[in-house]
């Protein structure tokens, strides 16, 4: 069984590797599925609109071509259930208005056993939900040309108590699984591949991400805090027991260059990226063959975006309280990325030699109001790995582009931290 899985994975990886530049995507064959009739599609839309508290919306097997959004409007105790990710497929290719395919608002909601294809913007968006479960939900895009794909596949935002379990998210032009401005979150047993960002946790608190597979994305798992949002900062994330493998996909968020979305700056070959993260523990993961850096710890300053005084009142641009330990690293034989500035920085200026993949990089930007000297480890960056073999680089970027320095000394950062999360409310 294991060998079959490995073989399957290998074929997949080879396939994607071969198609990185063209961006072609293998599409599941849905021709055997029952094509839902106009009346069946109409009935499905109606079920969402007529749902009352306590309703179960059953979605029979079939390929549904929708011309309008499926919206659940602030209802409670709702189950939305298909017949399986390969059996109930909702295609939003024909949408003429509206961003997301499915939009859910309410309390005590479960979404199970279906797929969402080709939403113009986001696949499944859940907003202002309390107790939301997604289990065995797949969201993807089937365009051969990935530059036509949408933004987020699975997108809970401003929610409380979120479980994403055994879901699949692929080929999004931003993040596959993106949880934003939410609290009390589990992402487990999921698979994210072929996205720019596999799994992204943004401005969230009390989060555990475990037993997921993130492969063939540009970046595997991201923890970000961005300024200027109603939920100003996030704190407390554990990332453990994940397989974060070969996240070397071309960054296709834009055809070329960067825009104002931070993910456009992510260099291909990034395993885990923490930016302006607060209290993040990364442990027991397999972080393999990510060609640029296994784990990157960054401050918001690396984006080059302006920071506004009013944002700094409630939010900090620095990463702090980061604890990395007991991960397995395997370096790639490929050269680090040269397509993005951050990739070039790592490739050219790391402390171990030009073109060498790094296990852990730290941008070394710290809050000088706390300490004038980084050797006191003012941002509490702690690393406990097999330090002898670890390829670690700390940069010094605070004197401009012409004076970039890098150091491999890890001594100030060998320490441990207690990171608190509590997901008992979700069990």
């Amino acid at each position: 069984m294991k060998y079959i899985y490995l073989l399957f994975n290998l074929i997949f990886i080879l396939f994607f590797f071969g198609c990185n530049s063209g961006g072609n995507v293998e599409v599941k064959d849905t021709s055997e599925l029952h094509q839902a009739t106009r009346d069946e599609v109409e009935k499905l839309v109606e079920q969402f609109i007529l749902a009352e508290d306590g309703t179960t919306i059953e979605m029979p097997a079939g390929f549904y071509q929708l011309e309008t959004q499926l919206i659940l409007d602030n209802k409670n105790n709702i189950k939305i259930k298909g017949k399986g990710m390969d059996k109930t497929i909702l295609s939003f290719k024909g949408l003429k208005t509206g961003g997301e395919g499915m939009k859910i608002v309410g309390k005590n909601i479960s979404l199970e056993d279906f797929s969402v294809y080709d939403a113009p913007g986001d696949g499944v968006k859940t907003q202002h939900c309390e107790n939301i479960l997604m289990r065995r939900v797949n969201a993807t895009w089937t365009n051969g040309d990935k530059s036509q794909n949408g933004t987020y596949a699975l997108y809970p935002v401003q929610c409380k108590n979120v479980i994403i379990d055994a879901c699949e998210a692929s080929h999004s032009r931003d993040a596959g699984i993106y949880v934003g401005q939410s609290e009390n979150i589990i992402v487990k047993n999921c698979t994210a591949f072929g996205n720019v960002a596999g799994i992204e946790i943004e401005n969230c608190s009390n989060v555990e991400v475990f037993k997921n597979k993130a492969y063939d994305n540009t970046g595997g798992i991201l923890v970000f805090n961005l300024p200027g949002l109603p939920v100003a900062d996030g704190r407390g994330t554990k990332i453990y027991d994940n397989e974060i493998i070969e996240n070397n996909h071309k960054n296709f968020a834009l055809i070329e260059g960067n825009n104002g979305n931070a993910v456009t700056q992510i260099p291909p070959g990034s395993g885990v990226v923490v930016m302006a993260g607060k209290d993040v523990e990364i442990f027991n993961n397999k972080i393999l063959k990510n060609k640029t850096s296994g784990i990157s710890i960054a401050s918001y300053q690396v984006t080059g975006f302006p920071m506004k005084d009013q944002d700094l009142e409630k939010w900090s641009p620095f990463s702090s309280g980061i604890y990395i330990h007991d991960n397995e690293y395997e370096r790639s034989s490929s050269l680090p990325d040269m397509s993005k500035d951050l990739g070039k920085l790592i490739a050219a200026k790391n402390a171990h030699g030009i073109g060498k993949t790094q296990d852990i990089v730290y941008d070394g930007i710290w809050d000088q109001q706390i300490s004038k000297d980084i050797s006191s480890n003012p941002m509490n960056i702690c690393i406990k790995e097999n330090m002898e073999n670890l390829r670690f680089t700390r940069f010094y970027l605070m004197e401009g582009e012409d004076n970039i320095k890098s150091y491999k000394e890890y001594d100030p950062f060998v320490c441990d931290l207690k990171i608190e999360t509590d997901i008992s409310v979700l069990q």
Binding site: V45, P120, T151
Partner: protein
């Protein structure tokens, strides 16, 4: 006679005519007694469709005005807002032959607003309750004699709340003191401030005089201040979602008339969840550079997933784009 009683339990009716809001042939849209025409100062662009709006409030009841920036109307139970969407065959003759697409009702029922969408039949004799939305091809010749051919999209019932939303409660958008504080010409030829008209009808009870109410410019009024026109445009086309209590609060970008902080309009602000909607651009608004601003990029787009607003249009509002472009270029 209007047949809607103070009891709203039987709603929605299957047909528009059952409400009795209009007399004579339904498609003439002649209001029955106690059905009052109103016209917001500024309004949402909806694929160049014309709109006519009416309000009905049950006998013996009245709305009041909240003490907020826009003077939100607080309506009593049973109040109904009626909005028709139609296209004249020739825009330079709006009273000539027309095609009525849909009629949307907002009814205050059991303390909450409900949205009831009606789709007009091909014969233009009746509008039928339709909750799942629809797409209808339509063509029209605009005032510049340009032919438009579009697929008109009637939203499904739950999409109404994508715009009509405050803290996940359905709310009306157009009728508030700020947006009705204007003089219009009524069918009898008389000119009157709408707030005074509502008061004269007993629809509104409020002690303030006309000059005490907030006001807003008409964004189409080329003689008005450019900044205020742009703000009015953004209020009516974006501010319903891009509001601290609206669905687009996730973006941290607030486009209401009263928002005075340029950071919140998106000035030099990178996007949050715009994803593909950002196009090649870095900031919501780059002062002096409309063409590099995500705001203009999304207004110009006709592609779902990129275009803004997300609903209510399949075509570009060229005049709106020109207005916002000029505003940003002169910042």
């Amino acid at each position: 006679m209007v047949s809607v009683s103070n009891k709203t339990t039987t709603l929605p009716y299957k047909t528009l005519s059952e409400y009795g809001f209009f007399t004579g042939e339904l498609n003439q849209l002649i209001p029955a007694a106690r059905v009052l025409f109103y016209k917001p100062v500024s309004s949402l662009f909806s694929d160049y469709s014309f709109k006519s709006r009416f309000v009905w409030i049950p006998e013996g009841k009245n709305a009041t005005i909240a003490d907020d920036e826009k003077g939100t109307f607080l309506f009593p139970e049973g109040s109904t807002l009626i909005k028709h969407f139609y296209y004249p065959g020739q825009f330079d003759n709006p009273e000539g032959k027309r095609k009525i697409m849909e009629t949307r009702l907002l009814v205050k029922k059991d303390g909450n607003w409900e949205a009831y969408p009606y789709l007009w039949n091909e014969e233009q004799t009746e509008a039928l309750y339709k909750i799942t939305g629809s797409t209808t091809p339509v063509s029209f010749i605009d005032a510049q004699q340009k032919l438009h051919e579009i697929e008109y999209v009637q939203p499904n019932k739950n999409q109404c709340k994508s715009c009509h939303n405050r803290n996940e409660e359905l709310i009306p958008i157009g009728p508030n003191a700020r947006n009705l504080n204007s003089i219009i010409t009524y069918k009898n030829g008389k000119q009157q401030n709408q707030l005074e008209k509502w008061k004269a009808w007993g629809y509104l009870v409020d002690d303030r005089k006309e000059e005490k109410y907030p006001s807003m410019v008409d964004y189409d009024d080329i003689h008005a201040d450019l900044h205020l026109r742009a703000k009015a445009y953004l209020e009516m086309n974006c501010g319903h979602c891009h509001h601290p209590e609206g669905p687009a609060s996730t973006s941290g970008m607030f486009l209401t008339y009263e928002e005075e902080n340029p950071d919140k309009w998106g000035v030099m602000k990178p996007p949050i969840a715009a994803g593909v909607g950002a196009g090649p651009h870095t900031y919501g608004i780059v002062p002096g550079r409309a063409e590099e601003s995500i705001l203009v990029y999304r207004m110009k787009s006709e592609k779902p997933g990129i275009m803004m607003p997300e609903l209510g249009r399949v075509s570009k509002h060229q005049e709106g784009v020109d207005l916002i472009r000029e505003w940003i270029d002169k910042m």
